[in-house]
Symmetry: C2
Subunit: 205 residues, 2 copies
DNA sequence: GTCTATAGAGCGATAGAC
DNA sequence: GTCTATCGCTCTATAGAC
């Protein structure tokens, strides 16, 4: 059992605490979130939180892992690889970029990056449960594209990472900083199209 | 004059405060940094800080802009564009990725991203003084490569952003999260080489 | 397990002497 | 301008009743 506390993981109070804590941490960050505000948001007393989680840092770690578990890889929206590489990449590209710029994804990214320097274990757990896992799915896709000879890919890992980082372009960073809409110089569609174009030019048979 | 306080911008105490605050904010983040710790780091009293900066948020904004001013675009290390597109891209790629993964760059990125949701003005100022300015330099480079017909670039902005985001790949994110060395699946050299290869394949005459 | 109440420490910001 | 001293508040975590 990998439960972080000796308590029932399906306890309704525990779930309420996690839900309340997610909102607080995402909105205000780790340090600026008080256990009182979590208690209020979860409609429980502060002492109840400490009955389920040994400290604020422990609660934070549980929240992050909890969020990762409802993540991209579990949504099973990954499209099938057909016979058209460009169409497959476009579909996956739109899916990935949509996910990247979701407000919740951005909020998680902000708090984890901010705290990773002070909580290295959390950063590792986040990597394993989040980006690391999503990357594996993308590796599989590129390997399949190579196996079906729809693309010629000497190094599927380099290709998959290139595609992912082309997608996670300027639009992601602008949203992450909360800049006014329109600051980015490439739209959603242009970003996906540019990424797909580059990959196709580099790896098309 | 755009000085944030009515005090002499070259005051030695003011400089000491900024230097001390940079270290504190970068190491501990915004919320976890106390004005007392800044005072200690700067070897001044807390009241002196408030004589130069009206609030903690004001000090933080001044620190971020101060850091951006000693940034990439002011170092004038940008290489000349010769007659070899691949060599130029490699040189610039190594320069950019080196800059991206500097500890100070990572630390600034962490704190600004973390606070941007709560201090939108700061995010805008950071964008203008930092990434926005660096991007312009990169646009110029790609336009020159196009003008010299070393590359065929229909859209220099898309090409420059693609190159930048290919470079700012997995290695940057792993360092940002403080993951153990070796977690990333592509080395520094492989990242630069992959980025240059993709751009060359897409835009070579 | 869950609550109310509170301990004990640290915070941002200021008053007043010099 | 710079200091020491302190105010008023909020914080994490716990004690003790039920």
């Amino acid at each position: 059992m990998t439960c972080t506390t000796p308590h029932a993981p399906n306890s309704p109070k525990r779930a309420a605490i996690l839900d309340g804590a997610v909102k607080c941490f995402m909105e205000h960050g780790y340090a600026a979130t008080s256990m009182d505000s979590v208690a209020t948001a979860a409609c429980v007393s502060k002492a109840t939180i400490y009955a389920h989680f040994s400290s604020k840092a422990d609660l934070f770690a549980a929240v992050i892992i909890h969020r990762c578990e409802m993540d991209l890889t579990n949504e099973a929206h990954w499209p099938e690889v057909g016979t058209d590489a460009r169409a497959s990449l476009s579909k996956v590209g739109r899916l990935l970029l949509s996910f990247f710029i979701q407000p919740d994804t951005l909020a998680i990214h902000r708090v984890v990056v901010a705290e990773s320097a002070r909580q290295p274990d959390l950063a590792n757990a986040f990597w394993d449960a989040g980006p690391g896992k999503s990357c594996s799915k993308l590796f599989d896709l590129f390997e399949e594209l190579g196996r079906k000879e729809l693309l010629i890919i000497p190094n599927p890992i380099a290709a998959a990472l290139s595609f992912a980082h082309l997608l996670k372009g300027e639009i992601f960073f602008c949203r992450l900083l909360g800049l006014p809409e329109g600051t980015e110089r490439m739209t959603f569609d242009e970003t996906v199209e540019t990424a797909v174009d580059l990959i196709m030019k580099a790896y098309a048979p």
